[in-house]
Subunit: 415 residues, 2 copies
């Protein structure tokens, strides 16, 4: 099946909107063994739209068009498709009823342009929009299927997941792919590849495939079978073995975050966490509270940005930063211990480093970060050298701090 | 001048990488009065590349190709262009010398694939890469200019800014556009349009144009002249008048952030700031310290995520949240006053709200946020109802808090 994507919208071409629809669709279909082989972004102009559809119907089995279905005059996709198929616009009563009810509920008057949202070319199969007012449309041109969808991301996604993919599964032979992923942190791809080499060779010889999916600080390892759900047990057995081999480098299943895993451990142990942040300046706290229910185990944070506040809030003795500087093992350990005591928690993570862009020195270049964990039996700390820009260094510091706590808990508690 | 863009790379089509190059290029050219009218993303496959170039040379004056210039086997753009132009690959000595020096400096051995990076089709004009090892290339096909650039964003951007745009200015008639922008916050587009209507009509009648460029919490107003630098004084006069009309809704010139403006004011006054955060959970601190030199006026933050910490760290009396809840005027004012006292600062901003997705009630739905500012003469507070998801509500709370301080300073101090 050859799928191509046409995104219509001036806002994409002038860079006002980043084309996240294209990346979401690319990844949605890739995960299901189908590749979008071409994506074209064009203006809201009739000739451009007609030319593009004309070219696409001759080479592709499926065309997904997004955008240009809004109620205003600059959105002309529907009208242009009606002309292309030489099919008059007719009112779709189901969509009209739904839209009328929506306007009534929100207490807004329905203008003519709102009513006209429910018009569709007579020849199309209407796809009801569960999340908005513009209907989706399916046209057939010879053997080619042409879908037209709104550009609003969550409307478009619901159409693809709930209506379009099921139609494609029915009308085309789509390889039934079965995936399972595990999440790792703290190691690069080449280190992992080396560590799991034997296992990887065996699973590949057993007709499975493996993808390394890296993002900053995290590598996701995805095992796929092209025999679909039939291979579920086989994939699960390899995954179990992989988790064993990875040991501490494994932190969770697909979709789990480090913050979530740490939260799960703390909840299970009935223990609490606080933070004393300098270089991460709130990002560590922010990541921790992204996990629903974090208020059960997370006490809060001291943001000790200045020397004075390190002393005043976390009780760091001035001699420490005067002698060793704020970015030092001594200071970060004092911050963790002080935070733990002042915030009355079982654990306290502290960060002190040079995130950049300024503040680096030859001895402590940008990316130098000390992390410490105060725990019920004392304190431990570790030095990191991150190679990134400010944003990346802060992100890596946050993940490394959470990982430090995760590894400590795994080693010292029964999880 | 008709420009089209071709992005080559499987990673874009399977959604592993978001196509930020396309949005950056779109915005770069739009700001200079030139529109990219079509963007196509294709695979790293020879036939797809050849077909796309063949179609593009017949319809466009300028083609910018990005991607596929890496040293590994899957990057075939250069070889395919050599075939398209029937031109043998030859060594570019300048690029080779530069790359050899780079490898020597970083102490890495130069492999054959690294040496081959400096090969280029004989017929092209070589554009030296100041930020990487892959040369850029300019081909001419009839009157069409074809640029091939690496897909690495900062390498691509430097090529476009320093080499490609100057070439286009020389070879095409590009309207010389002159822009100036002002930044506003706290008001929507329609409110602003109403407020500046007379001014807008006058400037439009005077051959200038205006764009409303909204992003969450901020609207940038951009005045443009299509007569270029000749109109500098005229644009500046209208901008001065606009700033007057906008009053407090204006906060700074293009590129200025609210955090930067607040920092400028505090530095000028020699006054200090702290924060007591609940629903923004570190994001306010994080935004404040993005401004270089923030350590001069920013003392730090108390993250009082739990009830206990509101009391323990910020000294909020338990009766307050027991009677009114944490998301209340009483609680947020106590947090601001407590933070100001404990952190010994002149100002303290406090946030307490329901960011979502959980925690909403009929009386206090998701998006309900109380903000308070403790200042040398007391405390003020304000209730907001943001309509967004968690991330958006936190972002809007951060901007609204900074704006609260900005407005207070403007009203009560000599700036």
């Amino acid at each position: 099946m050859k799928i191509e994507l046409i995104n219509i919208g001036d806002e994409l071409l002038i860079g006002q909107t980043i084309n996240t629809n294209a990346s979401w669709l690319g990844s949605f279909f890739a995960e299901r063994g189908v590749r979008i082989y071409k994506t074209t972004v064009i203006t809201d102009e009739r000739d451009d739209i007609l030319n593009q559809i004309n070219a696409a119907v001759d080479r592709s089995d499926v065309i997904i068009i997004t955008g240009g279905l809004g109620p205003t005059k600059d959105d002309i996709t529907k009208k242009t498709l009606a002309d292309f198929f030489n099919s008059p616009l007719v009112m779709n009563e189901e969509m009209l009823t739904k839209n009328t009810a929506y306007f009534a509920r929100s207490g807004r008057a329905m203008l003519q342009i709102n009513i006209d949202q429910a018009l569709v070319p007579e020849c199309c199969e209407v796809l009801i929009n569960e999340n908005g007012t513009a209907p989706g449309m399916l046209f057939r041109h010879g053997k080619t299927l042409i879908f037209s969808l709104p550009g609003v991301p969550y409307e478009m996604k619901a159409f693809v997941e709930n209506q379009i993919f099921p139609i494609l599964q029915e009308e085309f032979e789509i390889t039934d792919i079965y995936h399972e992923s595990v999440m790792t942190t703290g190691r690069g791809e080449s280190f992992l590849a080396d560590k799991i080499e034997d296992w990887e060779n065996r699973m590949r010889n057993d007709s499975l495939s493996l993808a390394y999916l890296p993002s900053p600080g995290i590598v996701r390892l995805r095992v796929s079978s092209y025999h679909g759900k039939k291979d579920t047990e086989k994939v699960k057995a390899y995954i179990a073995e992989l988790v064993d081999i990875l040991g501490d480098d494994y932190y969770g299943r697909e979709g789990e975050t480090l913050s979530g895993v740490v939260g799960k451990y703390l909840s299970k142990l009935g223990m609490t966490l606080s933070t004393t942040e300098s270089c991460t300046s709130g990002s560590l706290a922010s990541e921790i509270v992204k996990t629903p229910g974090a208020s059960k185990y997370y006490e809060g944070s001291l943001l000790t940005y200045s020397y004075a506040m390190k002393t005043h809030l976390a009780g760091v003795a001035p001699e420490i930063y005067e002698t060793h500087g704020a970015v030092s093992q001594e200071c970060v350990e004092a911050m963790a211990l002080g935070g733990k005591e002042r915030l009355k928690s079982d654990f306290c993570l502290a960060t002190s480093g040079i995130a950049g862009p300024d503040g680096g020195t030859p001895e402590k270049p940008v990316g130098t970060v000390w992390l410490a964990l105060a725990h019920p039996n004392g304190v431990e700390s570790k030095l990191f050298h991150f190679p990134g820009n400010r944003e990346r260094n802060i992100h890596m510091s946050v993940l490394a701090a959470l990982n430090m706590l995760r590894l400590h808990v795994l080693k010292n508690h029964n999880i």
